[in-house]
Amino acid sequence: MNALANPKVGELINKHFVASFQRVGSFKIAGKQKQGGNVATYFCAPDGRVLNAIAGPVDAPTMRDEVEWTIQKTREAIRESKGNADTFKALLRTYHAERLQEKYGVRVTPILKDQTMQSLETALAYRDKDGRKLAPVLPLPPIENKGEVRQLTNLAKTHQLLAAHAGAKIESLYGAVFQGILNEKVTTKPVQTNTPFPWRKEANAR
Protein backbone atom coordinates (compact mmCIF):
# COMPACT_ATOMS: atom_id res chain seq x y z
CA MET A 1 0.00 0.00 0.00
CA ASN A 2 1.40 3.41 -0.85
CA ALA A 3 2.22 5.77 2.02
CA LEU A 4 -0.17 8.56 1.10
CA ALA A 5 -3.06 6.09 0.75
CA ASN A 6 -2.51 4.87 4.30
CA PRO A 7 -5.46 6.17 6.39
CA LYS A 8 -3.31 6.91 9.46
CA VAL A 9 -0.76 8.83 7.40
CA GLY A 10 -3.60 10.67 5.65
CA GLU A 11 -5.23 11.58 8.95
CA LEU A 12 -1.94 12.87 10.36
CA ILE A 13 -1.13 14.93 7.27
CA ASN A 14 -4.66 16.36 6.94
CA LYS A 15 -4.62 17.37 10.61
CA HIS A 16 -1.35 19.31 10.49
CA PHE A 17 -0.78 20.21 6.83
CA VAL A 18 -2.49 21.67 3.81
CA ALA A 19 -1.27 19.59 0.86
CA SER A 20 -0.72 20.47 -2.78
CA PHE A 21 1.34 19.19 -5.69
CA GLN A 22 3.40 20.40 -8.65
CA ARG A 23 5.12 18.87 -11.64
CA VAL A 24 8.86 19.45 -11.97
CA GLY A 25 9.65 17.36 -15.03
CA SER A 26 8.16 16.68 -18.43
CA PHE A 27 5.85 13.72 -18.84
CA LYS A 28 6.65 11.22 -21.53
CA ILE A 29 3.93 8.95 -22.81
CA ALA A 30 4.97 6.05 -24.96
CA GLY A 31 2.01 3.70 -25.22
CA LYS A 32 1.93 1.58 -22.13
CA GLN A 33 5.69 1.39 -21.80
CA LYS A 34 7.24 1.99 -18.44
CA GLN A 35 8.69 5.47 -18.01
CA GLY A 36 11.04 6.96 -15.47
CA GLY A 37 9.87 9.36 -12.83
CA ASN A 38 10.02 10.17 -9.22
CA VAL A 39 8.52 12.05 -6.31
CA ALA A 40 9.73 14.39 -3.59
CA THR A 41 7.77 15.51 -0.56
CA TYR A 42 8.41 18.88 1.09
CA PHE A 43 7.18 19.94 4.50
CA CYS A 44 7.12 23.72 4.52
CA ALA A 45 6.12 26.74 6.55
CA PRO A 46 3.24 28.69 4.96
CA ASP A 47 5.80 31.13 3.46
CA GLY A 48 7.51 28.31 1.51
CA ARG A 49 10.52 27.76 3.77
CA VAL A 50 11.40 24.07 3.77
CA LEU A 51 11.36 22.42 7.20
CA ASN A 52 11.95 18.85 6.04
CA ALA A 53 11.79 16.82 2.85
CA ILE A 54 11.63 13.23 1.64
CA ALA A 55 13.43 12.45 -1.59
CA GLY A 56 11.84 9.55 -3.44
CA PRO A 57 9.14 7.04 -2.56
CA VAL A 58 8.88 5.73 1.00
CA ASP A 59 6.61 3.33 2.86
CA ALA A 60 3.87 4.39 5.28
CA PRO A 61 5.85 3.96 8.57
CA THR A 62 8.74 6.05 7.19
CA MET A 63 6.38 8.77 5.97
CA ARG A 64 4.62 8.83 9.33
CA ASP A 65 7.93 8.97 11.18
CA GLU A 66 9.16 11.92 9.10
CA VAL A 67 5.84 13.76 9.45
CA GLU A 68 5.86 13.35 13.24
CA TRP A 69 9.52 14.37 13.46
CA THR A 70 8.81 17.48 11.37
CA ILE A 71 5.90 18.54 13.57
CA GLN A 72 7.83 17.95 16.79
CA LYS A 73 11.00 19.72 15.67
CA THR A 74 9.12 22.66 14.16
CA ARG A 75 7.31 23.20 17.47
CA GLU A 76 10.62 22.94 19.32
CA ALA A 77 12.31 25.43 16.98
CA ILE A 78 9.41 27.90 17.26
CA ARG A 79 9.54 27.68 21.03
CA GLU A 80 13.32 28.03 21.32
CA SER A 81 13.86 30.67 18.64
CA LYS A 82 11.40 33.08 20.28
CA GLY A 83 10.47 34.71 16.97
CA ASN A 84 14.04 35.11 15.65
CA ALA A 85 14.10 33.83 12.05
CA ASP A 86 17.88 33.26 11.96
CA THR A 87 17.79 31.24 15.18
CA PHE A 88 14.84 29.25 13.83
CA LYS A 89 16.80 28.37 10.68
CA ALA A 90 19.94 27.50 12.66
CA LEU A 91 17.95 25.23 14.98
CA LEU A 92 16.34 23.40 12.05
CA ARG A 93 19.74 22.73 10.49
CA THR A 94 21.10 21.52 13.81
CA TYR A 95 18.14 19.11 14.19
CA HIS A 96 18.79 17.70 10.70
CA ALA A 97 22.46 17.15 11.51
CA GLU A 98 21.49 15.43 14.78
CA ARG A 99 18.96 13.20 12.99
CA LEU A 100 21.56 12.30 10.38
CA GLN A 101 23.93 11.16 13.08
CA GLU A 102 21.30 9.41 15.25
CA LYS A 103 19.52 7.51 12.46
CA TYR A 104 22.26 6.97 9.91
CA GLY A 105 25.53 7.32 11.85
CA VAL A 106 26.68 10.15 9.58
CA ARG A 107 28.40 13.12 11.18
CA VAL A 108 28.25 16.60 9.61
CA THR A 109 28.58 20.07 11.06
CA PRO A 110 25.40 22.04 10.34
CA ILE A 111 25.95 25.19 8.31
CA LEU A 112 24.10 27.79 10.30
CA LYS A 113 24.59 30.81 8.06
CA ASP A 114 23.52 31.03 4.43
CA GLN A 115 26.25 30.93 1.85
CA THR A 116 26.44 33.19 -1.20
CA MET A 117 26.76 30.06 -3.39
CA GLN A 118 23.03 29.42 -3.05
CA SER A 119 21.97 32.13 -5.49
CA LEU A 120 20.66 31.24 -8.93
CA GLU A 121 22.90 34.02 -10.25
CA THR A 122 25.98 31.90 -9.54
CA ALA A 123 27.55 29.76 -12.25
CA LEU A 124 26.54 26.43 -10.77
CA ALA A 125 22.91 25.68 -11.52
CA TYR A 126 20.65 22.91 -12.73
CA ARG A 127 19.59 23.89 -16.23
CA ASP A 128 16.93 22.92 -18.73
CA LYS A 129 17.82 21.60 -22.20
CA ASP A 130 18.12 25.15 -23.52
CA GLY A 131 20.65 26.04 -20.85
CA ARG A 132 18.31 28.19 -18.77
CA LYS A 133 19.06 28.10 -15.08
CA LEU A 134 16.30 26.40 -13.09
CA ALA A 135 17.69 25.96 -9.60
CA PRO A 136 21.04 26.42 -7.87
CA VAL A 137 23.39 23.53 -7.18
CA LEU A 138 23.68 23.58 -3.41
CA PRO A 139 26.90 22.65 -1.60
CA LEU A 140 26.57 19.89 0.98
CA PRO A 141 28.21 19.86 4.41
CA PRO A 142 31.14 17.42 4.27
CA ILE A 143 30.80 14.05 5.98
CA GLU A 144 33.27 13.99 8.87
CA ASN A 145 33.31 10.23 9.42
CA LYS A 146 33.53 9.09 5.80
CA GLY A 147 35.48 5.99 6.74
CA GLU A 148 32.62 4.70 8.89
CA VAL A 149 29.84 5.42 6.38
CA ARG A 150 28.94 3.07 3.55
CA GLN A 151 26.25 4.31 1.20
CA LEU A 152 23.82 7.05 2.08
CA THR A 153 20.11 6.44 1.51
CA ASN A 154 18.04 9.17 -0.12
CA LEU A 155 16.56 10.02 3.28
CA ALA A 156 20.04 10.43 4.77
CA LYS A 157 21.15 12.55 1.80
CA THR A 158 18.12 14.79 2.32
CA HIS A 159 19.00 15.36 5.98
CA GLN A 160 22.60 16.10 4.92
CA LEU A 161 21.31 18.71 2.44
CA LEU A 162 18.96 20.21 5.03
CA ALA A 163 21.73 20.40 7.64
CA ALA A 164 23.00 23.22 5.42
CA HIS A 165 19.88 24.51 3.69
CA ALA A 166 16.78 23.94 5.85
CA GLY A 167 14.76 27.12 5.98
CA ALA A 168 15.51 27.92 2.33
CA LYS A 169 12.60 28.42 -0.05
CA ILE A 170 11.33 25.38 -1.93
CA GLU A 171 12.23 26.94 -5.31
CA SER A 172 15.88 27.07 -4.23
CA LEU A 173 15.93 23.52 -2.92
CA TYR A 174 13.96 21.46 -5.42
CA GLY A 175 16.80 21.14 -7.94
CA ALA A 176 19.19 19.82 -5.29
CA VAL A 177 16.58 17.26 -4.20
CA PHE A 178 15.20 16.13 -7.55
CA GLN A 179 18.39 16.20 -9.58
CA GLY A 180 21.08 16.24 -6.90
CA ILE A 181 19.68 13.40 -4.79
CA LEU A 182 17.22 11.53 -7.01
CA ASN A 183 19.24 11.92 -10.21
CA GLU A 184 16.07 12.89 -12.06
CA LYS A 185 16.54 15.56 -14.68
CA VAL A 186 14.68 18.68 -13.68
CA THR A 187 13.18 19.88 -16.94
CA THR A 188 11.06 22.75 -15.79
CA LYS A 189 10.45 25.04 -12.86
CA PRO A 190 7.63 23.65 -10.71
CA VAL A 191 4.36 24.03 -12.62
CA GLN A 192 0.73 23.37 -11.86
CA THR A 193 -0.76 20.09 -12.98
CA ASN A 194 -4.24 18.63 -12.82
CA THR A 195 -3.36 15.47 -10.96
CA PRO A 196 -0.22 14.24 -9.25
CA PHE A 197 -0.82 10.65 -10.35
CA PRO A 198 -2.13 10.68 -13.94
CA TRP A 199 -1.49 6.96 -14.42
CA ARG A 200 -4.10 6.09 -11.80
CA LYS A 201 -7.69 5.96 -13.04
CA GLU A 202 -9.24 6.74 -9.67
CA ALA A 203 -6.83 9.65 -9.22
CA ASN A 204 -8.47 11.54 -12.06
CA ALA A 205 -11.96 11.33 -10.63
CA ARG A 206 -12.65 14.54 -8.70
Binding site: N2, A3, L4, A5, P7, V9, G10, E11, I13, N14, H16, F17, V18, A19, S20, F21, Q22, R23, V24, G25, S26, F27, K28, I29, K34, Q35, G36, G37, N38, V39, A40, T41, Y42, F43, C44, A45, P46, D47, G48, L51, P57, V58, I71, T74, I170, V177, F178, E184, V186, T187, P190, Q192, T193, P196, F197, W199, R200, E202, A203, N204
Partner: protein
Protein backbone atom coordinates in the same frame (compact mmCIF):
# COMPACT_ATOMS: atom_id res chain seq x y z
CA UNK B 1 -28.74 58.09 34.13
CA UNK B 2 -27.37 59.42 30.83
CA UNK B 3 -24.79 56.58 30.65
CA UNK B 4 -27.69 54.09 30.43
CA UNK B 5 -28.85 55.77 27.21
CA UNK B 6 -25.41 55.29 25.72
CA UNK B 7 -24.58 51.81 27.05
CA UNK B 8 -27.78 50.01 26.04
CA UNK B 9 -27.73 51.04 22.34
CA UNK B 10 -23.99 50.37 22.22
CA UNK B 11 -24.50 46.82 23.51
CA UNK B 12 -27.28 46.25 20.99
CA UNK B 13 -25.11 47.47 18.11
CA UNK B 14 -22.22 45.27 19.30
CA UNK B 15 -24.46 42.21 19.56
CA UNK B 16 -25.83 42.85 16.05
CA UNK B 17 -22.31 43.22 14.66
CA UNK B 18 -21.15 39.99 16.29
CA UNK B 19 -24.21 38.15 14.98
CA UNK B 20 -23.49 39.46 11.47
CA UNK B 21 -19.86 38.28 11.77
CA UNK B 22 -21.07 34.86 12.84
CA UNK B 23 -23.23 34.65 9.72
CA UNK B 24 -20.24 35.67 7.60
CA UNK B 25 -18.13 32.95 9.20
CA UNK B 26 -20.72 30.32 8.42
CA UNK B 27 -20.89 31.38 4.78
CA UNK B 28 -17.11 31.24 4.09
CA UNK B 29 -16.67 28.66 1.35
CA UNK B 30 -14.49 25.69 2.16
CA UNK B 31 -11.61 25.31 -0.29
CA UNK B 32 -12.32 22.37 -2.58
CA UNK B 33 -9.96 19.44 -2.14
CA UNK B 34 -9.34 16.17 -3.94
CA UNK B 35 -7.59 13.05 -2.74
CA UNK B 36 -6.39 11.70 -6.11
CA UNK B 37 -6.53 8.12 -4.92
CA UNK B 38 -4.78 8.79 -1.60
CA UNK B 39 -5.95 9.52 1.95
CA UNK B 40 -4.54 13.06 1.71
CA UNK B 41 -6.70 16.03 0.75
CA UNK B 42 -4.97 18.15 -1.88
CA UNK B 43 -5.82 21.71 -2.84
CA UNK B 44 -5.06 22.82 -6.39
CA UNK B 45 -1.91 24.91 -5.96
CA UNK B 46 0.85 25.56 -3.39
CA UNK B 47 -0.27 29.20 -3.27
CA UNK B 48 -3.75 28.10 -2.17
CA UNK B 49 -2.17 25.68 0.28
CA UNK B 50 -0.03 28.45 1.77
CA UNK B 51 -2.99 30.80 2.16
CA UNK B 52 -5.14 28.13 3.74
CA UNK B 53 -2.30 26.96 6.01
CA UNK B 54 -1.77 30.49 7.27
CA UNK B 55 -5.48 30.83 8.00
CA UNK B 56 -5.77 27.44 9.70
CA UNK B 57 -2.38 27.69 11.45
CA UNK B 58 -1.10 24.58 9.70
CA UNK B 59 2.04 23.71 7.76
CA UNK B 60 2.23 23.06 4.01
CA UNK B 61 3.04 19.79 2.27
CA UNK B 62 4.12 20.07 -1.36
CA UNK B 63 4.51 16.99 -3.55
CA UNK B 64 6.83 17.32 -6.56
CA UNK B 65 6.27 14.67 -9.20
CA UNK B 66 7.70 13.83 -12.58
CA UNK B 67 7.20 11.14 -15.15
CA UNK B 68 5.60 7.78 -14.72
CA UNK B 69 6.44 5.16 -12.18
CA UNK B 70 7.26 1.53 -12.48
CA UNK B 71 5.09 0.87 -9.49
CA UNK B 72 1.94 2.97 -9.35
CA UNK B 73 1.85 2.52 -5.58
CA UNK B 74 5.02 4.47 -5.45
CA UNK B 75 4.85 6.52 -2.32
Amino acid sequence: MSSKFVTVPFCLILAAALWADELDLKTIEKTPTACHGTAVEFVDTPVEAAQLAKKEKKLVLVLHVSGYFEDPDFT
